[in-house]
């Protein structure tokens, strides 16, 4: 551990490498967390199957690549398929749990997560996979820092998707209806918004975002049927830390988390990566509680 820290001190370029890796992966998580926050804000369903939807997208890309479709091009059909899947899941499950208490939605999506991950395991096997995109890599600082081109492309696509998402929510009729429903579902219904359609759209859009993120993850990182839950926890860390409806917060937290994760993986060793994320989640939750406690003291 200390040796690794010393390496970072002696060779500052390694820091650049860690930052680059962290930021590119984090950009994808940013998308996932944004989708989670969107569904959470509009339908108040906490989707624990978020990471598993990402995995589904990843395996979609893998399947397309097997049939000779380049994974970057697979982005569109996979998103479309995931949109339809999200719609079906909404009609079957989510629609019925929106009215019920919060734990019900949590547990229902948890059941969904188990079903998806086990189905993926049956269909594709438990191997860790990555989809070859066929791009080379760039070398910076005389070959001390290496970054694959696909990571840069994925980063660019993430930014594009995020911009498209924001524009959709701000400008389109549907986007306005979604934002109105998030603010006050009852008032929106009174004013003629079909909230059921809005909920369905929100969940399906989220599924499509997750699918796109999964395609990118499959290219720049690894996919495995059981990694979904870890991705969900990451998305929860980001959203709970940033707060709902706080897009800049989500971006900053996701990037910070991505970089922190790279550092902890480098300094402590890869086996602590998951523990770091979970530890961070607990730290954030406890910190929030302390804030709550202070508030209560003031009230007293």
């Amino acid at each position: 551990m200390w040796e690794n820290l010393q390496i970072l001190g002696l060779a500052p370029v390694f820091n650049v490498q860690l930052w680059l890796n962290g930021v590119t992966v984090a950009a994808v998580f940013c998308l996932v967390a944004y989708g989670l926050a969107l569904v959470w804000g509009v339908t108040s369903v906490k989707n624990l199957a978020q990471g598993d939807l990402v995995m589904m997208g990843g395996y979609g890309a893998w399947e397309f690549a097997k049939h000779g479709v380049h994974p970057v091009l697979a982005l569109i059909p996979v998103s479309a398929i995931m949109f339809v899947f999200g719609w079906i899941i909404y009609k079957l499950i989510i629609r019925r749990v929106i009215q019920l208490d919060l734990f019900t939605s949590l547990l229902a999506t948890f059941g969904l997560a188990i079903t998806i991950q086990q189905s993926l395991n049956l269909a594709f096997g438990p191997d860790v996979r990555t989809v070859q995109s066929g791009f080379g890599s760039l070398e910076l600082f005389d070959g001390m820092v290496e970054i694959t081109q696909i990571k840069l492309i994925a980063f660019g696509l993430c930014v594009l998707l995020a911009i498209a998402m924001v524009l959709f929510l701000k400008k389109s009729r549907m986007g306005q209806a979604i934002r109105a429903t998030a603010q006050d579902p009852r008032a929106a219904r009174v004013l003629g918004v079909n909230t059921d359609l809005v909920y369905a759209m929100t969940f399906s859009i989220n599924a499509a975002i997750c699918g796109a993120a999964g395609v990118l993850i499959a290219m720049i990182w690894v996919i495995q049927p059981f990694y979904g839950i870890a991705y969900s926890v990451r998305a929860f860390v980001i959203v709970t830390a940033a707060g709902l409806g706080n897009l800049p917060g989500v971006i900053v937290t996701a990037l910070g988390l991505g970089v922190l994760e790279q550092y902890s993986g480098f300094v402590l060793g890869a086996q602590f990566q998951q523990a770091t994320i979970v530890g961070l989640l607990l730290a954030i939750l406890i910190w929030r509680q302390m804030a709550l406690l202070r508030q209560r003291k003031t009230l007293q």
């Binding site: 229902a108 059941g111 079903t115 709970t240 979970v278 989640l281």
Partner: protein, 356 residues
């Protein structure tokens, strides 16, 4: 005593019949003694989860933490009284230590006692940290604690890390180990059941039900909610720790991911079983775990590879379409059957006034 437990002669007969069936089971199915012992552990899982999830409205997804904690504490205690733990685990089963029967039973008793105490200490400390979290945050927080515990145990070499610990060998004959631990698991579960039966008849249950119904109002009325929540979680931890210690010894080999802290199997089973039977009732968890156990035996045997998909679908269907569970459903359809429990005016009002 029977009065304090609310046992009428008729229900006493029923209980004794069930007890007789429990005693007879390992003799009727001698090849399935371990499986039957797992059944009792399942009942205990559901009962302890319901203290929090059903009666108090705090849905923990990480109660399995105490199970694994008890398992590991017991294992370390058993080994430590005769051998150096670090050496024993480093050899990962290569060192065969002969435990004399006296040493074994001494170790087991000490281990079970510690396995009951240490999880309670953890529950007290954790409740101080986690009970500020409410609703889904609490569920995610507890899930996080359980996953973190599994990860940390997995990389802690003193307790064997991912290699696990081979438990001390039981000194009795071949069939004796299974029967011994069957009896122990059954005793622990019955003890838990009787304790909860008594507990749910005291003011304590009114207090935790008040926390479930409206925590802020309960607090405003002068209920020391933090203390009640801590005690309720400690009760869960106490029995889960004992169950973990017994389960670890029964399987003979423990490791963090699949046996001690299986958040995605046992940890979810507890929730699924309780919801299936109907949460917030004493018998709901028991009926739910019985049915779940039967379903699991069938699916695990005939749906090889598909069993977890079946589990996921079961959870979804249960939660989305059958929220009240079996006992809750019966209570709606046949309120008369529950008449003896609806003696107080408040209960009557609740039943006639529809769903609260």
């Amino acid at each position: 005593m029977s009065l304090r437990l609310g046992l009428t002669p008729r229900s006493l007969t029923g209980h004794l019949l069930l007890l007789a069936a429990g005693v007879a089971a390992p003799f009727l199915f001698p090849g399935h003694t371990v499986q039957l012992a797992v059944f009792w552990v399942f009942v205990l899982f559901a009962l302890t989860w319901d203290i929090m999830g059903g009666q108090m409205g705090y849905n923990s997804l990480g109660n399995i933490l105490f199970f694994g904690l008890g398992m590991y504490v017991c294992a370390v205690a058993q080994i430590a009284i005769v051998y150096d733990v670090a050496q024993y685990t480093a050899a990962s089963g290569a060192i065969k230590v002969d435990f004399s029967p006296k040493e074994y039973y001494q170790g087991l008793v000490l281990g079970v006692v510690l396995a009951a105490i240490v999880p309670v200490v953890f529950a007290v400390v954790l409740s101080w940290i986690l009970f500020g979290l409410r609703g889904p945050y609490y569920a995610i927080g507890t899930l996080g604690v359980a996953i973190a515990a599994a990860e940390l145990t997995n990389s802690w070499n003193y307790v064997g890390g991912g290699m696990g610990i081979a438990m001390p060998v039981f000194p009795g004959g071949p069939g004796m180990r299974e029967r011994f631990f069957y009896a122990a698991c059954m005793a622990a579960t019955i003890l838990c059941y009787l304790f909860l039966r008594w507990l749910y008849r005291t003011r304590f249950s009114l207090a935790i039900n008040a926390i479930r119904d409206d925590e802020d109002k309960a607090e405003a009325l002068g209920l020391h909610t933090a203390r009640y929540k801590m005690v309720a979680w400690s009760v869960s931890a106490f029995f889960l720790g004992i169950a973990g210690a017994l389960f670890g010894n029964m399987t003979g080999f423990i490791e963090p991911m699949e046996t001690a802290f299986p958040t995605l199997t046992f940890g979810i089973f507890m929730v699924a079983m309780t919801l299936l039977g109907g949460k917030g009732t004493l018998w709901g968890p028991i009926i739910g775990s019985t049915l779940f156990y039967a379903l699991r035996e069938v699916t695990w045997t005939y749906l090889l590879g598909w069993q977890y998909i079946a589990l996921g679908i079961l959870i979804i269907v249960n939660v989305v379409y059958f929220q009240q569970g079996i006992v809750g459903w019966l209570r709606q359809r046949r309120p008369r059957w529950f008449a003896s429990q609806a003696e107080t005016p408040a209960d009557k009002a609740l039943e006639t006034g529809g769903k609260a």
